[in-house]
């Protein structure tokens, strides 16, 4: 049941990305290029998404279980730390270079786009590098990160 709902959610997510124009890297760059002819579309995509998701997350906060019966997992991290900011800066730089973020790149994979294949392979390599550097066994042998 959980997997079936996830499949439907993924389909709706992908259709939304295609309809919104965000599966087109040139359109994303058109938003990120403030000093050119600016295309504000991406801001409306975010606004439309948040308008629908906000009530759902407000409701979700009062639930302990999802419809599928499994535990409802909301992020618990609160601290704004260095990995969050440096990681997000690196992500933004990569986003600006090609106009792909993970969702649109995966949807583009489904359209048979050649550049999306190259991007996704490199993205998986980057994620794999992070997974290797942060594997559970390794973390145990290192001192805990300093607070603050």
């Amino acid at each position: 049941m959980q997997a079936f709902i996830a499949l439907v959610s993924g389909l709706i997510f992908g259709i939304g990305l295609l309809l919104s124009g965000m599966a087109n890297p040139a359109k994303v760059i058109g938003f990120l290029d403030l000093s050119g002819a600016w295309d504000p579309s991406l801001a409306l995509v975010m606004a439309g998404a948040i308008a629908v998701a906000f009530p759902a997350f407000t409701w979700a906060r009062r639930c302990t279980r999802a419809w599928s019966g499994c535990a409802l997992q909301l992020p618990t991290a609160k601290h704004i730390d260095r990995p969050l900011l440096l990681g997000s800066l690196a992500f933004g730089a990569g986003w600006g270079l090609a106009g792909y973020c993970p969702g649109p790149a995966l949807v583009s994979l489904g359209t048979g786009s050649q550049p999306a294949v190259v991007f996704i392979l490199a993205m998986l390599a980057g994620m794999g590098a992070h997974a290797l550097l942060n594997r559970p066994g390794k973390a145990l042998r290192q001192p805990p990160p300093a607070k603050g």
Binding site: F13, G36, F91, L124
Partner: protein, 144 residues
């Protein structure tokens, strides 16, 4: 700044965004998980097994969406200006950055902002700022 009115698509972008929000709502209320694409993919690369099936199902839906779309309409145009070297650099930065930063446009930008999370607001401002700066440097200073 001047607005590119010919490229601006307010209604389809708003409508597509609403569908993205609906998908995120369905995943949290139905499956109890955050619709953060980088987190969903990244979770598959961790050695510790477990909750893989919903991740694979979500990604199958995401990648399969263009096939469903094509049953009813032609795919919308997509243009990529980056060459292979740029695509590889971009992919590496996005892969490493989203994992250290715990999320991307969907996880922080849509779900996090909808949860009113200060962490996600900080991340969204950081990646948006870096995106604006990078495009400025690449398109206007280096002039590619």
């Amino acid at each position: 700044m001047n607005i590119a009115w010919d490229a601006f698509t307010p209604w389809t972008s708003l409508g597509g965004g609403a569908l993205i929000g609906l998908a995120a709502a369905l995943l949290i209320l139905g499956s109890g998980r955050i619709a953060g694409i980088s987190g969903i993919v990244g979770g598959l690369l961790r050695p510790s097994g477990g909750d893989r099936s919903w991740r694979i199902a979500f990604l199958a839906g995401l990648i399969g969406a263009p096939l469903l779309w094509q049953l009813f309409a032609a795919l919308p145009p997509a243009q990529v200006d980056a060459g292979n070297a740029m695509l590889i650099a971009a992919g590496l930065l996005v892969g490493i950055g989203t994992r250290y930063g715990s999320g991307c446009t969907s996880g922080h930008g849509v779900c996090g902002l909808s949860r009113l999370s200060p962490r996600s607001l900080a991340a969204t401002l950081a990646f948006m700022g870096a995106g604006f700066a990078t495009v400025y440097v690449v398109r206007h200073l280096l002039g590619s």
